[in-house]
Symmetry: C2
Subunit: 232 residues, 2 copies
DNA sequence: TGATTGCTGATTGTTGACAAAAATATGGTT
DNA sequence: AACCATATTTTTGTCAACAATCAGCAATCA
């Protein structure tokens, strides 16, 4: 269920906004590869809108990190390096830790009353997918889990930043590696976070969140490196 | 032969970029008050450029948080509420803590060799300003201190986010309250951070950084609230 | 041969004009 | 005077055309 109740920053009632979303989709889903150039004329032609509209869409995407702008040369899909991924993980971890701590605090204060049950339900559902060979539902539930905590923190700006980071990391992931490794381990970590949030223990929640991201990075790097050495 | 190339960092070789910087300056320096509307025609007239150029500048500023875009209504200088300031502080603290921890790690690994001496020099200079009634040099040194740590962390994305947050908080600060309160206390906290970074103790650095921001928020809120109740 | 200079086609930067939507003014009714 | 529907004005959204800049290639010269 997508609540898309007009993200205050970017309304999609406008044509440029629509184009923006479409370009973003093309990048995230891989229609446009890393490093590839965004030709304004070609895009406007393909979408049946004016070049100025495409231009506006590209400009509004630039600051999100998905696109690099070079004066007089054009826009390019950002090429995320491995060392950059480490930086992004670091950032994501810091924001996620903040969100979990804040969620715990708000549970304690009674501001996010139904968060604990929602988290528990998510974990239960995830347990159900453990045997499945298809990891798509794990994928969805994993995103939902993090989303609920970011939402529960009551800090919209933090959520916006987090979403941007995830989008950009997704760029790199497309090089072929799945995140669905060690689902069982990841699920264990989710349980610890959920418990800490449910009991309102901010410090424990922060620690568990940090640990979760650090472990995730480690799992990720292990695969990425072995893949890097395998592919020329 | 070295020709002064104007396109070194984020190029302002383009007209729209120039306009963007000018609008940002107007907002940060208070020529445009919070909540005020940005009239495209008026701005383009005043600056002697086309409306499209101004439009492009505004769009590229929108994601930074300084400006709110409303479809078919225009762009407005973001009005930062007190509860939002709390959220921004929270975020800033998380990123600053990450930066300090990373700086400490990099000192330990020998990647940021001259950071400790630079921090020590900054603190020394700041001690010299303790008696001054003019707080402008404290202001400058305070920014420098945080900048060095963000730079030392080797995470450019984190620095960009941090800078954006500070800019947005600046928006609120303009309501008349100075941050130069309890300089001595703040300086003490800087010393703790500096020591932790110098000895390469990541955990201590993170804790000290978090503490510094939390205390800063507390000091800030105390003044803001008393001011809020004083001014109608 | 190798590097520099001057063209050429393509792409981006900028502009002014037109269309659509919101804000504001107008006028009649109760 | 207050209220609602409608006309007018202002402002934003979109477009197509013009100008500046760049990558690539051919011609020139050391």
């Amino acid at each position: 269920m997508t609540i898309t109740a007009r993200t205050i920053g970017q309304g999609r009632a406008t044509l440029a906004g629509e184009v923006r979303d479409e370009i973003e989709r093309m990048i995230v889903e891989g229609d446009l590869g890393a490093g590839e150039k965004l030709n304004e004329l070609a895009l406007s032609d393909a979408m049946g809108v004016s070049r100025g509209t495409v231009r506006e869409a590209i400009r509004s995407l630039a600051d999100s990190g998905l696109i690099d702008l070079i004066t007089n040369r054009g826009a390019f899909v950002h090429e995320t390096t491995l060392s950059e991924v480490r930086n992004l993980y670091e950032l994501r971890g810091a924001i996620f830790a903040l969100a979990c701590a804040a969620s715990a605090r708000r549970v304690r204060e009674g501001a996010a009353r139904d968060l604990p049950t929602a988290l528990a339900r998510n974990i239960e559902e995830m347990e159900g997918t453990l045997g499945d060979s298809d990891t798509s539902s794990y994928y969805r539930l994993n995103i939902e889990f993090h989303d609920m905590l970011l939402e529960g923190a009551g800090n919209p700006r933090a959520k916006a930043m987090y979403d941007n980071l995830v989008k950009e990391m997704h760029l790199f992931r497309r090089r072929g590696l799945s995140v669905a490794t060690n689902i069982a381990r990841s699920l264990d970590e989710h349980r610890v976070i959920s418990d800490a949030v449910a009991t309102g223990d901010s410090e424990a929640a922060r620690k568990a969140a940090e640990h979760h991201i650090v472990e995730g990075l480690a799992r990720y790097m292990k695969i990425a490196e072995s893949q890097d050495s395998a592919t020329p």
